[in-house]
Symmetry: C2
Subunit: 219 residues, 2 copies
C-alpha cells in the first residue's frame, strides 16, 4: 500500500491518524505541495484532481479524498472501528466530520490561499481575516453540536476516537497555527487535548513527519 | 420525518434526489435562506450550524450535512442502493461525491458569496470569476476521474445512479446557472443528462420546488 502525503496537508494528517489507529503500515510517498509536486504528470496519473492525499492499494487501485480513504480503511481493517455501530451514531459522526471537511477546510486550502493572493491580490491582513473567519465559524459549529449533547463523551461521540475526532483535530491544528485562542469553544478544546494525548494522533501531527522542514519542528 | 430544505440549496437538492430514489416521503419544511430564516433561534435549535439541509427522524434525532443524511437514508432504506456493494467501489463513489462536496460546492455557498461581497467588497466581475474558477476546477477533476475509467458506465459508477451522480448533478446545475458550456467535460455532461432524464432527479431540481419563486421556474 502506498500513501501519498505531505507533512502540512491537513487531509493527509487525517489519513495518517486513521492508519495509526488501525495499526496499518503504508509506504509513504512525500509529495511536496510547496514545490508543486502534485501538479507533475507523474502525480496527475495517480490522482487526476492533483490533490492530496491518495492511497494506492496493493492491487493498484487508487483511492482519493481523505474521508473516502478513511471509510475504506475502516471497512477493510475493522478494528478499532472509526464509526459507531448504530446508523444514527454513524450519521452524527459523519455529520461532524463533514462540518470540517466540507465547510471549514475547503476555505483554508493552499489553492484558495493562492487565489486570494494572486488573483484577488488581497493584503496579508485580509488573507488572515479570511482564514480566521472560516476557522472560527467551523469551531463554533462544532461546539454547537458537541456541547451538552448526550452522545458527546471523552471524544466527539462516546469515549473512543472516531472519524469526527480525526477531522476535529485537524481543524483545531489550523486554529492553533493561526494563534486563535480556543477558550470560547471548551468542548472542542477538551476533545482536541484528549485526542492529541494519544500517540496515534501525536505521531501523525504535521510537525512530526519525515518531510517536515526543520524550522517547523517543535523547538 | 421532517426535511428542512430550500429550493436553491444544492445540498438540499442532493437529499431530495436521495429521498426520491428511495421512495421515502418526508414533511418538507421550507427554510428561506434569502430571508435569513436559517439564522433564527428556532432553526438554530435544530441545527446549531445554521446550515441546510437537516433531517429530523420520527424519534426526534436531528441529522445534518447532506452526505451524512444520504448515508443514513441508504443504510435505513437499502433499496435501491446509493453505494456499490464492494468496498473499493464505495471508496470511488464516495471520493467522487467528496470532490464536489468538499472542494467545489464549499466555495460557491451563499455565505462565501456574502463574504466576497460584504467583507472583501469584490466587484461583480471578480465574484463571477471566483465562482467560475472553482466550478470549472471541479468539473475538470470529475472528468479526469470519470473519462476512460473502467468503472464508469451510464452513470459515474456502473449503470445505476449513486451518491456520486447525486453530487455531480448538483455541481453541473451550478455550472449551468453560470452559463458555463459543458463541452470540455463530455463524460460529466453525458452523465448529467442521463441522470436528469430520471424523474427522481428532475423532480428534485431547484427550479421545480414548492418554494421556488415564480421567476425562477422554467418558462
Amino acid at each position: 500500500m502506498q500513501f501519498f502525503s505531505f507533512w502540512r496537508s491537513l487531509a493527509s494528517f487525517r489519513v495518517r491518524v486513521a492508519l495509526n489507529l488501525k495499526g496499518v503500515a503504508a509506504d509513504v510517498v512525500f509529495v511536496d505541495l510547496d514545490a508543486d509536486a502534485h501538479r507533475t504528470d507523474a502525480y496527475r496519473k495517480i490522482n487526476p484532481q492533483m490533490a492530496l492525499p491518495a492511497l494506492v492499494t496493493d492491487d493498484g487501485t487508487v483511492l482519493f479524498q481523505s474521508l473516502a480513504i478513511i471509510d475504506w480503511l475502516d471497512e477493510t481493517f475493522p478494528t478499532p472501528p472509526l464509526l459507531p455501530a448504530d446508523a444514527l451514531g454513524r450519521a452524527r459522526v459523519r455529520g461532524l466530520a463533514l462540518i470540517v471537511a466540507c465547510e471549514g477546510h475547503p476555505l483554508l486550502t493552499p489553492r484558495v490561499r493562492r487565489y486570494l493572493d494572486r488573483e484577488l491580490d488581497l493584503r496579508d491582513s485580509q488573507q488572515n481575516a479570511w482564514r480566521r473567519h472560516w476557522t472560527v465559524e467551523t469551531l463554533a459549529a462544532l461546539e454547537g453540536h458537541l456541547a451538552g449533547h448526550k452522545a458527546t463523551g471523552r471524544f466527539c461521540h462516546g469515549d473512543a476516537p472516531t472519524l469526527a475526532d480525526i477531522c476535529l483535530v485537524g481543524h483545531v491544528t489550523a486554529a492553533i497555527n493561526q494563534q486563535i485562542s480556543l477558550s470560547p469553544w471548551p468542548t472542542v478544546k477538551r476533545i482536541h487535548e484528549t485526542a492529541m494525548a494519544l500517540p496515534e494522533f501525536a505521531k501523525a501531527h504535521p510537525s512530526a513527519q519525515p518531510d517536515t522542514p526543520e524550522a517547523m519542528r517543535p523547538k
